[in-house]
């Protein structure tokens, strides 16, 4: 895939576009983690594609020297799915915010997980709508006051990691923006994982929902003895409301979608079976040639 000698560095993945995020925004950590992970994995930039929806976090692709797609709100995952299946050689990421992922895009995750499509999905969860300047998102705390919820929100927050586990996503992990090295490690494992991988990053929005304190107070590494193939144990970790566990919750190494496709259809593919073969089946053949 790559010529043996090239050894890439973080700077090989930096684009010329300067991030427009507020100083202190948690997304910077994710961006630098992605540079680091790609460099460590030594993936040629031209083999990387990153799709996003709309949001502060959605601006991500432009900041990476790679192929990018800044799409519409909520559709990062189906875009990424198409990119991967249109060209399975690529290493494909979907990235975005909590609103993009779980609100308008919430209907797509279950199905990406069911397909186990070979895409790494990084959700930068600031528990707020950043780009539209501070409305509650599906992960916002109950009773949170924002301009759009001046008396406090009515809804209880969802739990992204628990939800992804209930969808049987085959790789589920969490990072926090205070620890970009850890995020880089998680990204590396996610990329190497066959099939769909999900990384939940708790990523503070300094302008509308500063979570740095919460992270400091609650972040806890997943215990080293946690068995990542144990779904129940993973679920237990996520349901713990005291601790914000960080690390890999769950991993199931069954084949990804591209490999499944190969296994299913390789036996049928042959140079003799072409579009022409299919079309000619519809010919009305006179009886003597039937």
């Amino acid at each position: 895939m790559t010529t043996a000698t090239v050894r890439r560095r973080v700077s090989d993945y930096k684009s010329d576009v300067k991030p427009i995020w507020c100083p202190g925004c948690g997304n910077y950590a994710v961006l630098s983690a992605l540079y680091r992970a790609l460099a460590d994995l030594n993936i040629p930039p031209e083999k990387v594609a990153i799709a996003s929806g709309i949001g502060c976090s959605g601006r991500f692709p432009a900041f990476v020297r790679a192929y990018g797609f800044h799409g519409v709100h909520g559709r990062a995952l189906p875009l990424a799915t198409g990119i991967k299946l249109g060209n399975p050689e690529l290493t494909v990421f979907a990235v975005g915010g909590d609103g993009d992922a779980f609100s308008i895009g919430g209907g797509h995750i279950l199905h990406a997980a069911r397909r186990n499509v070979d895409v790494t999905y990084i959700v930068m969860d600031n528990r707020i709508y950043g780009l539209t300047k501070g409305q509650p998102s599906p992960t916002s705390a109950q009773d949170m006051r924002t301009k759009a919820s001046p008396y406090g929100t009515m809804e209880s927050p969802m739990n992204p990691v628990a939800t992804l586990l209930s969808y049987y996503a085959t790789f589920v992990a969490r990072g926090v923006s205070t620890d970009p090295r850890m995020i880089a490690e998680l990204i590396k494992r996610a990329v190497q994982h066959p099939g769909f991988s999900f990384i939940h990053v708790v990523s503070p929005c300094v302008s509308f929902n500063d979570l740095y304190d919460m992270i400091k107070r609650r972040q806890t590494p997943i215990p080293p003895d946690h068995d990542v193939t144990d779904h129940d144990a993973a679920m237990d970790l996520t349901l713990d409301r005291e601790h914000l566990y960080v690390g890999v919750f769950y991993q199931d190494d069954r084949p990804g979608y591209v490999e499944m496709l190969r296994r299913k259809f390789e036996p049928y593919i042959s140079p003799d079976y072409t579009a022409r073969t299919v079309i000619e089946r519809f010919c009305v053949t006179p009886p003597n040639e039937g």
């Binding site: 800044h70 799409g71 559709r75 198409g82 060209n87 010919c283 006179p286």
Partner: protein, 596 residues
């Protein structure tokens, strides 16, 4: 009978094999060297309910459902009651006398076939057995050779040896019983034709032609969501595309389907989805994205009657507005409309070529009736199809300026890199952007980009107008009345035209395949050459007529049908009659000028 063709309608309970008999008859007629055009109804019930299957069989290409029925085959009482009013005065009724009785006032010829009794006599009480007997009886009445009928059954059931024997027995019984018990009815027999060699003709539905066209165009990725009447495009491709090295995904909804297609196309694959009106409505935001990011993609809309869920199994031409205008703000897109089953194939070739060349979404407007009917079509010349590739950037050289994905060019087309190319990174950008793809709100840049994107539509028009068959003209050379129509209305219009010419009226028709950007000079020239214009279409508000008026200033008489049923030829003719009367247009000595 309508010029060398015969219309046979079968009516009965759904699940009774009406569709099977109809399908076999279509194949039998096709294999015997005739041309076929079918029409069928879909019951409102989920299972059961009344089904109608109609065949028009002709000596040459058949272009419409026909007007009246020449022969009605009633498999039960409903099959008689519901359709007898459409039977022509000298029509024939063939009926299962074990399941239907004929009105005592019936004056037309009737042929009783005791289907249940014949079946039980040979011991095939099953539905399939009865169907085969009926097929045999009709085959014989129509004068098709039995050996061809047998070969049709063998082709169909070739792999199910278990069923084949019983079916062939039924078929033979039907032929024999008819030979022994029924008169030869000359009105039911078309003159003999010379069946041409293999592979000169095919029997396909519109949806099949769409799918086959896509495969011939090199489709590599399909994602769709089931919806009547588009579902079987996906179902057909699900069996074929992965075997041809492509990928097909049934998406979770139409939005995901189009997003996946856009993603796949971005990464280099020819990609499409097919849906119907409600699905396109969900897709409009993404159509805007494809226009803005300049990603080629093909969306087939098999139109059905709406609004909203409407009448999902009824035909319409009512999504033109949405296809041309349905999204926020103004993004260029190309809209194509095939005019026949045969043309469905060609328009898919065009769709992929135009999407790739102009980097825009292309919407192909098919229609329920076109999608579901079987037509005999001449085999497509697979060796002669052209493929237009995307314009990609030339290999980068040291010292090149950075890659401008959205380079402002004279024809509006900017070379588009495919991921994997190590020298032309870019981000496809849904925000307004600079030539490099960086977001920009600069007013000058904005104006230049809007103009660049829309320039592609002009380029597309200037290029496609030189391609063959992108618009057709039929009928009188110096017309008094001109008809401008789109989609499958072309069929009945051509038929009406032929008869009008025979009557000595100078009528002509112009049919664009591209509805956006319209072949404006050609249409204007045509319209200018006529004293009056008629615009028939299958919708209420006259969407195409509106388009002709707003884009080209053409005002015409309108003929709108919105009951979910295709035009009958006589409806077009009646409207022509009224215009002739109103304007006092001249009639000439009968003349034959102009091909139809």
């Amino acid at each position: 009978m309508l010029e060398d063709s015969i219309v046979i309608r079968l009516g009965g309970e759904s699940g009774e094999g009406i569709v099977t008999i109809g399908d076999l008859l279509a194949r039998l007629a096709g294999a015997s060297g005739y041309w076929v055009y079918t029409l069928r109804s879909f019951p409102a019930e989920i299972l059961g309910g009344h089904v109608m299957f109609q065949l028009r069989i002709g000596m040459e290409t058949v272009r419409s459902v026909g007007d009246r029925i020449d022969a009605l085959v009633a498999l039960n009482q409903d099959g008689y009651d519901r359709h007898v009013d459409l039977l022509s005065a000298d029509g024939i009724i063939i009926y299962n006398s074990d399941a239907a009785t004929i009105s005592p006032d019936e004056t037309r010829r009737t042929l009783a076939v005791p289907l249940d009794k014949i079946a039980s006599d040979i011991g095939v009480g099953s539905r399939a057995g009865k169907n085969m007997i009926a097929f045999g009886v009709i085959g014989r009445l129509l004068g098709f050779p039995r050996d061809i009928a047998e070969s049709v059954v063998i082709r169909r059931l070739g792999k199910r040896k278990d069923l084949l024997e019983a079916n062939l027995l039924g078929l033979r019984t039907g032929y024999e019983w008819a030979a022994d018990n029924l008169p030869v009815v000359d009105d039911l027999r078309l003159p003999p034709t010379e069946p041409e060699g293999a592979c000169k003709r095919m029997l396909v539905t519109g949806n099949q032609a769409i799918a086959l066209g896509a495969l011939a165009a090199g489709l590599k990725f399909y994602s769709g969501y089931p919806i009547t009447p588009a579902t079987d495009i996906m179902e057909f491709l699900a069996g074929e595309l992965p075997r041809l090295g492509g990928t097909l995904i049934q998406a979770e909804d139409e939005i995901a389907a189009l997003a996946m297609c856009i993603g796949a196309s971005f990464s280099g694959a020819r990609a499409m989805t097919a849906t119907s009106g409600p699905g396109v409505a969900l897709m409009t935001e993404l159509l805007g994205l494809a226009s803005m990011t300049e990603v080629p993609v093909v969306v087939v809309d098999v139109q059905r009657s709406g609004p909203s869920t409407g009448m999902p199994t009824k035909t319409a031409q009512s999504d033109l507005w949405m296809a041309v205008h349905g999204a926020s703000d103004e993004g260029p897109r190309i809209v194509l409309a095939p005019t026949s089953v045969e043309d469905c194939f060609y328009q898919m070739i065009n769709a992929f070529n135009m999407a790739d060349r102009y980097q825009v979404p292309v919407i192909v407007l098919s229609e329920q009736a076109l999608a579901t009917r079987i037509e005999t079509v001449p085999a497509w010349p697979l060796d002669k199809l052209t493929r237009l590739e995307r314009v990609t950037p030339p290999p980068a050289q040291e010292g090149d300026e950075p890659y401008k994905r959205y380079k402002i060019t004279e024809n509006g087309i900017s070379p588009m890199a495919i991921p994997g190319d190590p020298m032309h990174y870019y981000t496809a950008e849904g925000l307004e952007h600079t030539e490099f793809g960086a977001p920009s709100y600069d007013p000058e840049n904005r104006r230049a980009m809007m103009e660049k994107r829309w320039r592609k539509m002009e380029t597309a028009y200037q290029e496609y107008r030189t391609w063959p068959m992108m618009f057709r003209r039929f009928g009188a050379e110096k017309p008094d009345l001109g008809i401008i129509c789109w989609g499958s209305v072309q069929g009945p219009v051509r038929e009406a035209l032929k008869r009008q010419l025979h009557k000595g009226r100078r009528v002509a028709a112009f049919v664009p395949k591209v509805l956006s950007p319209l072949p404006r000079d050609e249409i204007r020239e045509f319209a200018d050459s006529c004293k009056a214009i008629l615009i028939p279409e299958l919708n209420m508000r006259g969407q195409f007529a509106d388009l002709l008026k707003s884009e080209l200033g053409i005002d015409g008489y309108r003929l709108n049908k919105y009951e979910g049923i295709p035009f009958y030829t006589f409806e077009i003719e009646e409207r022509i009659d009224r215009i002739y009367e109103e304007l006092g247009l001249p009639e000439y000595e009968m003349e034959q000028e102009g091909a139809c």
